[in-house]
Amino acid sequence: MRRALTVGLIALGFVLMIVGYFASAPWGAESVSNSDPGFAFAPAVFVLGVIVAFSSALVYELYDDRRER
């Protein structure tokens, strides 16, 4: 369970990072659409992804095995 949660959080973190990064305003400087993110607060999603991925370390160490019994 500990491993599953850890791996899950890392995976979730990466998904959020990828979604957040590519949804933040697209590369290019030719038109207005290059200055708006795909959805509001997309960069926050990216940052959240980084945080989620690193909190997997917290889960890995702090997960309480005794709960399973």
Partner: protein, 248 residues
Amino acid sequence: MAKYAMVVDLHRCQGCRACVEACKIENNTGEGMFWMHVFRFEEGSYPDTRMSFLPRPCQHCDNAPCVKVCPTGARFKRDDGIVLTDAERCIGCRYCELACPYGVNYFNWQDPEDSQYAEMIDWTDPDIQQATGGAVPPYRNPDLEELWGSEQRRTGGGGHAKGVMEKCTFCVQRVEKGGQPACVDTCPVNALLFGDVDDPDTPISRFMRENETWRLLEETGTEPRVRYVGGKPPSQSYTEVERPKARV
């Protein structure tokens, strides 16, 4: 879709700075902010000197470094070529000012009301009142508060708030209404031309066909939309004289 550009005819510019004044009045820019600036260059040393003038509006580059570096997308380029600043999204980091090779960006270092020339003149003086008709700057043009373009952003004019960046907008509030920038309209010798360069019949397109043009700082790869006719690109051996004593 129109594609706007500007041509500056250096054969005609005689350095009267009417364009600088017109820009200030139209756009309500504060002290020391010269969206349109006219260089006076001196080349060589006495007695072999040459003088020249060079109007320098924002170049509205196609590969604008200011647009690329803006962290929030407040500086953006429209599909018609005009590069604008969203006064509500700008966080005042001043990165665009540093990325720009031409030095056209200005920051509101203080409250816009405090940066007007109001402190230098007593606007209640009756003689001055006679000349101004009682108006006290800033002469607010209501168009400066509107949202412009299909993108609906507050991009017209300057002096919106302290702590935000601003620069020449090709007078978007005039262009959107079918007009021309204030500097172009005001120039007494028609040294400035503005219009749609995709349309071959506009005066600017015809002028560009008939004359050889060059662009400022071509080597930086910014692809400016302002072209110059006559004169030559300023080199490092030029000195600027008559620098505006404009340090707020």
